[in-house]
C-alpha cells in the first residue's frame, strides 16, 4: 500500500468503517510508515481536540432568553394560524 492510498482511507480508518481485511492492510502500512502514523495520530487528535473543546457553548442566561423568545413566537404563530395548532 502506498501513502496516498492510505490517506484516501484515513477517514474510514479513523471512523472504524472498514472491513477487517482493509483494516489490517492499513495497520500494516502504519507499522512501518512513520509519516502516515503521525498524520493519522495527529488527525485523530485534531478531531478529539475540537470535540472536547466546548468552543461554542450556549451560556445559561442566553439559553433561557432564546427559549422564551422561541416559545412566544410559536404561540403567536399558533394564534395567527389556528390550522397549524
Amino acid at each position: 500500500m502506498k501513502c496516498n492510498e492510505f490517506l484516501n482511507e484515513l477517514t474510514n480508518y479513523l471512523d472504524g468503517a472498514l472491513d477487517a481485511r482493509t483494516k489490517s492492510e492499513l495497520d500494516e502500512h502504519l507499522a512501518w510508515c512513520h509519516n502516515c502514523y503521525v498524520v493519522c495520530d495527529t488527525t485523530r487528535k485534531t478531531i478529539e481536540i475540537y470535540r472536547n473543546s466546548e468552543l461554542y457553548e450556549l451560556p445559561d442566561d442566553l439559553r433561557t432568553r432564546l427559549r422564551s423568545a422561541i416559545m412566544s413566537k410559536c404561540a403567536a404563530h399558533k394564534k395567527s394560524d389556528p390550522a397549524a395548532g
Binding site: T11, L14, V39, K78
Partner: protein, 209 residues
Amino acid sequence: MSTIQPNIEQPVSEEMQLVRRAKRGDTQAFEELVRRYDRNVFRIAQHITQNREDAEDVVQEAFLKAYSNLEKFQEQSKFYTWLVRIAVNEALMKLRRRKPERTVSLDEDVKTEDDSLPREVADWSPNPEQMYNQAELRDILTRTIQGLPAGFRTVFVLRDVEGLSTEETADALELSIPAVKSRLLRARLQLRDRLNRFFQKKASGDGDQ
C-alpha cells in the same frame, strides 16, 4: 489505534412521542424538544456563521421554522436530523448575506490547493492541552476553523463535533455519502495541517525554520 465514534445516541421513540404531541398542538412537548437540542443548534450555527449574533438568530429561526412546518415532517428520519437541516440552511443564508462577494454553497466542489500527503510529520508532543492554556487553545481552535471553507466546516461540525453518522450528515445536508466522506477527509486534513503549525512548532523548540 483507537477509532472515533459518534457521541450522540437518542432514543428515537421518545423523541417521536414528543414530536407527535407537538404536532397535536402541545407546546410543552415542543419546548422539551427545544431544550433537548438548542445547545446543538447553537454550536452548529456558530461553527458555520462564525458570528455570535447570527448564531442566536439561527437558533430562533430554525426552531420557529420547525414548529410552523411540523406537519410536513414525515418521521422518516430523526427529528434532530430534520432540525439540523433547517438550521444549516438558515446558517448558510446568514453567511451568504454577510459575505455576498463569496459564493457559499454546499454543492460547489470545494477544491483545495493540495490534497497530497502532508509533508510535516513531527508528532504533537506534549499534548496541545499541555502546551497552551485554555484561552490560548480556544483562540487557536477558533482561528483555525474560521479559515476552513464553509462547506468543509459544516461537514466537520456535524460529523466530528456533533457526532452525527455519515448517513445522517448526508441526509441533513442533502449530499451523497461519498461527497460527505470526501469533504470530511479534506476538512480533517486541512484542520490538522493548520493546527500543526501551532502544535508542531512549539514542540520542536528551537528548531524553528
